[in-house]
Symmetry: C2
């Protein structure tokens, strides 16, 4: 076993730091370490946090982690995934805010992830970093994505529990996105409750929830959003069905944070009881395996193909002599044109 | 030549509609059509429009197209790319708004693109749809993306001219994204100028622009954002350098729209003069070729691999007996485990 891996498993934070860098840069050592670490994974609760820019995800995660540190013994890792980083050097702002509150707490570890050049690379690197934290014994890994595109949603949904964060007063054309990510939300958070438009946002989300989960809409009408509060007689359903609760929070004064932590806890219990935990694990690993296979195939292909050949075919495309599909065929068959 | 292709090239709108569906669904007929159409592409001005949700991209595009239709003879196609659609059925809201203003104008064609299951698929389908419009003789194809993730940015940046739309009063944590997409912006638009916070947003954008383009910062200080307005003596530079202008617009009353159309026109001229048009074309086609190769390789691999074999390896991953990389190796080498 690599020494770094041994040290990491023994709880050494410096080893953790170093391994994260190796893994993020996808070095041979990083890959070996992942192979050795993998059998130690599968214990952490993975929590994804996604939502449009401006809804206050970073502050929310901050407050949530402070809450956990104060009231539980959980060790928590935060991965801040920022696909826009290649241009700028990363989620610097968010990190600085965090540092102020969480610095010096050895039970918290924050890692910002920049893009690895490709989206597939980013998702892969996030999965790998998650495994390192998991093996290092963190009880919870929070994966927070900046941006509200499908890539971010895809990354967040690989978690066991996905929080979708909204804020009042976003534009009307955000509705489409709301409707979209609603279906991946295990817990809906309306943050920044001091903003105007709170009632409108809440009504809109409840409306969408009722459409998505018509069976449960009676409880929703009564504002009952937690499964455990459902009337008796429906308990049987509640173990195999989860209606996303809507939790209002204000990261400034911390209101709603304990309730949010409670929902997260209940969702983990639901996952275990219903068998969804394992189903999500399988989906997550399948997605990762697919991505790795695709990367490997593409690498092999590009390595085996002479640069000039590719350039030549590309030039013929540019001259409109070859269509894209004809170009693929030409390159795949290795024929000269 | 396929009859549909012939009809399309002759300007038949029904043939266009049918071909778009074939191409979007990636049918064998769609692929054949693309092969036949490709030699007719390369003429349209591709304009990407991106920015965070809530900044009013749809209304802006709407106004811009109305302007073009009133004052020019341009035929314009709009592709609304909505990666969140697989969940919901698409950018319905935006379409409805558009229909009201643009319905019945045969010089305008709107197509909403839902996700093709994967991000690669979405980018590929968008490229293909763009080619159909290009071959059909549209002078301009506007590619508007919903969401502000890297996927959306990647799609928008494949255009010749990329508009990045901002709006005043978005949260502070949007700054990171602003900084990121700034570097892909050919034209910066501050929409919804009636919102509070306009000056703050404009100052922030100008600050970022000055950092990104220090050479030009004298002109920016004077609010000179158009290359043609640069003092004489710098005209030589201006043919090979483009500083993104900042254009304020209000899609409600249409203010700033004619100026925006002007910037777009000037950018096209700049691209032609500087040789950037061809460079961008090459980059675009290279990206498309890479994506097609990757898809083809992955398809072939999954087809050649028995389902049970994949499931077996996945189960061993789930049991932590195989790490992801070991699983890839096992599948690639086709060995039994």
């Amino acid at each position: 076993m690599m020494i770094l891996v041994k040290d990491l498993l023994a709880g050494n934070r410096l080893a953790l730091s170093r391994l994260l860098t190796q893994v993020e840069n996808d070095t041979p050592d990083g890959r070996s370490a992942l192979n050795e670490l993998f059998s130690h994974t599968g214990k952490a609760h993975l929590v994804g946090v996604t939502g449009a820019p401006g809804v206050g995800k970073s502050s929310l995660v901050n407050q949530l982690v402070l809450h956990y540190r104060k009231h539980t013994k959980k060790n928590i890792a935060i991965i801040a995934v920022d696909p826009t980083s290649p241009f700028t050097g990363g989620a610097v702002l968010g990190d600085r805010v965090r540092m102020r509150d969480l610095a010096g707490d050895s039970g918290v570890f924050i890692r910002s992830m920049a893009s690895r050049g490709t989206l597939g690379g980013l998702a892969h690197a996030t999965a790998a970093i998650t495994q390192v934290f998991d093996a290092a014994g963190f009880d919870m890994v929070i994966i927070e994505t900046v941006g509200a595109g499908q890539a971010e949603v895809d990354i967040a949904r690989l978690a066991h529990t996905t929080l979708v964060v909204e804020a009042p007063g976003m534009g009307d054309d955000i509705q489409a996105i709301k409707a979209g990510i609603l279906e991946i939300a295990d817990i809906l958070v309306i943050n920044k409750t001091d903003r105007p438009g709170l009632e409108h946002t809440e009504r809109a989300l409840r409306g969408m929830l009722e459409m998505a989960h018509p069976v449960r809409h009676v409880f929703l009408h009564h504002g009952r959003t937690e499964m455990v509060e459902a009337p008796s007689g429906t308990q049987e359903i509640s173990e195999t069905t989860w209606i996303p609760p809507i939790q209002k929070t204000n990261a400034n004064d911390g209101s709603g944070i304990p309730e949010l932590a409670d929902h997260i806890q209940k969702h983990a219990q639901y996952l275990a009881k219903s068998g969804d935990w394992e189903r999500r694990e399988r989906l997550r690993l399948e997605t990762e395996l697919d991505a790795l296979i695709q990367d490997t195939l593409a690498d092999r292909f590009r390595t085996s193909l002479p640069e000039e050949k590719f350039d030549q075919v590309l030039t013929e495309m540019l001259e409109r002599k070859l269509s894209p599909w004809e170009a693929v065929k030409a390159l795949m068959n290795g024929r000269q044109h």
